[in-house]
């Protein structure tokens, strides 16, 4: 019988495997298969999938990778994810990839694309530039060209055409996956005690490491198994976590939040899994449809520009309202420009909406969880024992 425990154990095994064995096996199964790695926060996986390639999410090395060579590439005031990514490359853990995409999330990730070009000049490295202008005639035109450029580059890598029909098929497959993920998140809002944050997190991480069809089946199995679970409901504080969209927290940190008395009811762990926020139109020009959904239905994040000041930070207030959360925990990686520069504006939006919050920083290899547990626990207590609802 498939249980949530079986599924989560499998996801955890994948998560801990820094040799990416599952992706390697997928590639080895057929001679023409290719693997295209990508970094947070978003790339159009549909085009990679349509090229019969595996989009492989590389989210750093976590807390199990000893970074030695990677540190030599960066100054002390740079976050850890590029260091551990360089380490993964230099230690040949990523020697099987055929290309890598670096989305325009911040200066560090952008420049990492140049590092890969120097270290592995024989593979395809692409700085994937997403528009900050969401006007169809400006950012839209730019983005259609960017998508076409990616398509042509992947055709060259794979040495075959990527047809419109293939992209349409991939859009449909990813639409289904996003719907299942939306269902999982909705179920967690309803019953956070039955969908622990660590389990939701590992399910999301699994999507980075396997074909989307396989991941969708895992979600179907997990949702069915989770409905049968009857875990104890505790009087925990419902919180939204914000700031974890690029360099990922150690799993122990997420576990610590739960142990401190918090139910995580929304997060920004892997935004790509919920991007765009609605189905992409399948019929019609698939490149235009991908661009259009990006312009109109992208989730708002710290890495994107908000053109209207009055709306700044409201996405977080909305996330709190929609998930019936009682507070926000800002948890951002040290030296993360997007998350940390955004935070004062988000805090002001929360202050205006009278939503309590607390903040701390981490690195993907943070080891001491006791201070975080104490801070999150005190925050939860302040709401549950002394807040307005207490």
């Amino acid at each position: 019988m498939v249980t949530t425990d079986n599924i989560i154990q499998r996801c955890q095994d994948l998560f801990e495997d820094l040799s990416f064995t599952h992706a390697r096996k997928w590639k080895d199964a057929e001679a023409e298969r290719k693997v295209i790695a990508f970094m947070p926060i978003y790339v159009p996986r549909e085009i990679i999938h349509a090229a019969n390639m595996l989009p492989l999410g590389v989210l750093g090395g976590g807390d199990q990778l000893e970074v030695i060579q990677g540190d030599a590439y960066y100054q002390s005031y740079i976050c850890r994810i590029p260091r551990s990514t360089i380490e993964l490359i230099l230690t040949k853990r990523l020697d099987f990839i055929d290309g890598m995409l670096f989305p325009s999330i911040c200066d560090v990730i952008r420049n990492l694309s140049g590092m890969l070009q120097m270290i592995r000049p024989e593979i395809y490295a692409h700085y994937y530039d997403m528009p900050q202008n969401y006007d169809e005639n400006i950012g839209g035109e730019f983005y259609v060209n960017e998508l076409q450029e990616l398509r042509k580059a992947l055709e060259k890598v794979g040495d075959h055409e990527i047809t419109d029909d293939a992209i349409r098929n991939s859009i449909a497959v990813y639409n289904e996956n996003r719907r299942l993920i939306a269902k999982l998140y909705a179920m967690r809002v309803e019953q956070p005690w039955n969908i622990p944050a660590t389990e939701a997190y590992l399910l999301m991480r699994a999507s980075m490491l396997m074909p989307v069809e396989e991941h969708s089946q895992i979600l179907i199995d997990y949702l069915a198994a989770a409905e049968k679970n009857d875990r104890p409901r505790r009087d925990n504080c419902r919180i939204v976590v914000s700031g974890m969209f690029c360099e990922q927290p150690p799993l122990a940190l997420i576990k610590s939040l739960e142990m401190s008395g918090c139910y995580v009811v929304d997060d920004d762990f892997m935004l790509i899994n919920r991007w765009p926020t609605v189905d992409v139109q399948v019929e019609g020009d698939p490149i235009y449809n991908l661009s259009d959904s990006f312009l109109k239905h992208s989730p708002k994040t710290s890495a994107t520009y908000e053109p209207i000041e009055a709306e700044k930070g409201l996405y977080l207030v909305d996330a709190v309202r929609k998930s019936s959360a009682e507070g926000v925990i800002f948890a951002a990686p040290s030296f993360c420009d997007p998350a940390l520069l955004e935070r004062p504006m988000l805090q002001d939006a929360l202050n205006a909406a009278k939503i309590p919050y607390t903040a701390f920083k981490y690195a993907e290899n943070s080891g001491q969880m006791q201070p975080i547990r104490e801070q999150a626990g005190t925050f939860a207590d302040s709401i549950k024992l002394w807040g307005e609802q207490a």
Binding site: D107, S302, E309, K312, A332, F335, P338, L340, L341, Q347
Partner: protein, 149 residues
């Protein structure tokens, strides 16, 4: 073997400066003067950044530019940034992000006095042009947030 070490103290002002250095100094000083006298000259003020700016166009509209990163640099050279950075951090800015941003935000919150000691005029226009540095994008949002516009 003995090594002779020059012990004579030199005055930094005696160092030879290139003409371009002198011109740059003069241009920056003139710009601060323009900003201080903006009411008298009936000009408008634009806050924008140095890289990727469109100064030629702005000058056609009689807009005087105020450049946040120059303010931070000039404040830094005059050893004024410490209290500014602390002011920004008191208001929620993290200790490990760009101190140019925090120096600028802190300076605004502490009265917006230019590094030269003159009060800086409020902006009539905030302008973000593509700069190639992600921090500028957030810096602009933070300026807009401060002025609520």
């Amino acid at each position: 073997m003995n090594t002779a070490v020059a012990s004579k103290k030199t005055d930094p002002r005696d160092a030879i400066k290139d003409n371009s250095m002198l011109l740059q100094k003069e241009m920056i000083a003139n710009n601060f003067k323009k900003l201080a006298n903006v009411k008298e000259s009936d000009s408008k003020v634009v806050y924008t950044f140095v890289p990727g700016n469109i100064n030629e166009l702005l000058m056609c509209f009689n807009l005087v530019g105020n450049y946040p990163e120059i303010n931070s640099l000039q404040s830094g050279m005059r050893k004024k940034t410490g209290p500014y950075i602390m002011e920004a951090e008191r208001n929620g800015h993290s200790e490990d992000v760009c101190t140019y941003v925090k120096s600028d935000i802190g300076m605004m919150r502490k009265g917006n006095i230019a590094p030269t000691g003159d009060p800086l005029p409020e902006p009539d226009v905030l302008l973000l042009s593509y700069t190639g540095c992600f921090t500028f994008l957030k810096w602009f949002e933070l300026l807009r947030h401060e002025y609520n516009c």
